[in-house]
């Protein structure tokens, strides 16, 4: 089924979510679960910072904009990958805000047929408005056309 994407919905903020302050315990348990041994990731104290992929724990309140065609919003998708650009480290006490935008919608043809990719961008900032990470979440749909 062909998709009719209005280009004006790209890049427009569709969600904003502020999370509870980050705790040292959460940072440490996350890093330990990944087998980390660097003290800066697993030891409480002034040097403690988040593991670089801790940012992927944060989510928005809704994952897709209401303006995305229903053929995409309500169809099962697969997590195809992520791109993370890191900013300043996350530290205990930080309050992270996520702004969500629909970044890109594109089609690819692979061995198993056509696939549509929807990229949702999370821009994450701390309470000082410093960027901690920009995360592009790539979702893949099979059997659709953009």
């Amino acid at each position: 089924m062909p998709l009719d994407i209005d280009p004006s919905i790209l890049g427009r903020e569709f969600d904003r979510a502020e999370h509870e302050p980050v705790t040292a315990d959460a940072l440490i348990s996350f890093a330990i679960a990944l087998g980390e041994t660097y003290p800066c990731y697993i030891q409480a104290g002034p040097e403690l910072i988040a593991h670089p992929t801790y940012c992927v724990r944060f989510k928005g309140r809704k994952f897709f904009p209401d303006t995305l065609p229903e053929t995409l919003r309500f169809q099962m998708s697969f997590d195809a990958g992520k791109d993370i650009a890191l900013g300043v480290p996350i530290r205990p006490g930080d309050v992270i805000t996520i702004v969500s935008t629909l970044h890109e919608v594109y089609e690819k043809t692979g061995r198993t047929g056509s696939m549509v990719f929807v990229v949702v961008r999370f821009t994450m900032t701390n309470q000082r408005r410093e960027t901690v990470a920009v995360v592009d979440n790539r979702f893949m749909y099979k059997g659709l056309q953009a």
């Binding site: 003290p39 593991h51 990958g81 992520k82 480290p89």
Partner: protein, 136 residues
């Protein structure tokens, strides 16, 4: 904590592969620490009800393992960018192997680009990616 010196790295350098048994308890611990409670990440029966062959590894965990692998080589706090593509299911209770190779050096920023991937025990690349690391 030592950061790898930029001058000691050349294009084409291989990062020592890291092979280890990736078990279900490891995945469950990550799921708990990440507040993700989908059955596919915690038990085989729940995963089968979702049409999967058994418990799978969250893509985000694969990313985390890759990030830790790269910083074990480059030093803590060196990762600037990481892009990953999840190409296949990474099933636990198997041996996995994380590998990387330096593809590019940038003198101005003293950073390197790296290709990185996770192989399962059939030598299939279930996760592939690229990364930027700022060296000393």
């Amino acid at each position: 904590m030592r950061v790898r010196p930029f001058d000691e790295v050349a294009e084409g350098d291989e990062i020592d592969p890291q092979a280890f048994r990736h078990d279900k308890d490891h995945v469950r611990a990550y799921a708990r620490a990440s507040d993700i409670y989908f059955p596919r990440f915690t038990d085989d029966e729940g995963a089968r009800r979702e049409g999967l062959p058994g418990m799978i590894t969250p893509g985000n965990m694969s990313m985390g393992l890759v990030a830790s692998y790269l910083e074990r080589w480059a030093g803590p706090g060196t990762l600037r960018r990481l892009g990953t593509t999840f190409r296949g299911l990474l099933l636990p209770d198997r041996t996995i192997r994380i590998c990387g190779v330096v593809t590019q050096r940038d003198d101005a920023s003293r950073s390197v680009e790296v290709d990185v991937w996770i192989e399962n025990d059939d030598a299939e690349r279930a996760v592939i990616g690229t990364a930027t690391l700022a060296l000393g």
